[in-house]
Symmetry: C2
Subunit: 191 residues, 2 copies
Amino acid sequence: MKAPIDFHFDFSSPYGYLASHKIEALAAKYGRSVTWRPMLLGAAFKATGSGPLPSIPLKGDYAKRDFLRSARFHGIPFRIPDPFPVSTVSACRAFYGSPEDKRVPLAKALFRAYFVDNVNIGEASQVLKLCNSLGLRPEIDSQTVKDKTRAEVDAALAKGVFGSPYIVVDGEPFWGVDRFDQIERWLKEQF
Amino acid sequence: MKAPIDFHFDFSSPYGYLASHKIEALAAKYGRSVTWRPMLLGAAFKATGSGPLPSIPLKGDYAKRDFLRSARFHGIPFRIPDPFPVSTVSACRAFYGSPEDKRVPLAKALFRAYFVDNVNIGEASQVLKLCNSLGLRPEIDSQTVKDKTRAEVDAALAKGVFGSPYIVVDGEPFWGVDRFDQIERWLKEQF
């Protein structure tokens, strides 16, 4: 059995959302599974001295256009949520505080809520409402869940994760939904 | 006749170099010509608060790996030059100080010198040597050439160019050699 693909992302990242629509089919084509690993881009921005795209002069305006065009290009339903971006601490804690077999469906529901239905997943109450609708009751205020989330985010930073999506195949890192062609080549022939 | 494609780049940009190998074939396929527009990324970085990739923690190490892998992916000869990056003011002035019909061959020679032969095109003497080998004698120290170069760089910044390559098709901007698939879709059907 080949090692799973590590899929790092932030729930507030449009490119992470687009990647979430494509990663499983690509992995399955090459006999791989996917380990979903939400992280907090804000923590990575501290390391790289960067910030959310919309806050950057010139690049911010381009980014909004590119989000929309990239979604059309891939045929994925998408809108720029308002507010954007938001803190995804609660979403992350809900993910890591849920049973392992429920995490991926929850992640997909969180992404859809934010980028399709414009639900503010930056608010803990909205995250919990969504969890409830899936029959989940993660204890996002418990120290255990907080510590677990922090440990996962720290582990990602220690691995060098600085953006979203950040996908690792057998130790080889790929940043961006625009690296899927290179990921596929790597899965095929480790070029 | 359809409008030319604007190809903005910095001579010190690996992704700009990769794009220089691909842009003309793509444009020709859709009956377009290409206007090559070297600019100075340093000026754009001042606007966006960014800096050269190698100087950015985490992202810098990833970038080097991605330069090499992207070159392999596209089958384009490439090495990371030393020093990297360099100032491309002299290269830019040589370009804008040369006759229009000699500029594209000069640009290709500058890119090849830097990214294949490891010639330090940050040095004016190296740039002029290369120009001489092509029968060109641009007056890179003349005020006229300096002013012309500055006007071109300022015009790019005013258009919102913040990275390299930055390609504009009929007003639609695309940043990165990893947007060639979207550029092609745009040329085909303005999706």
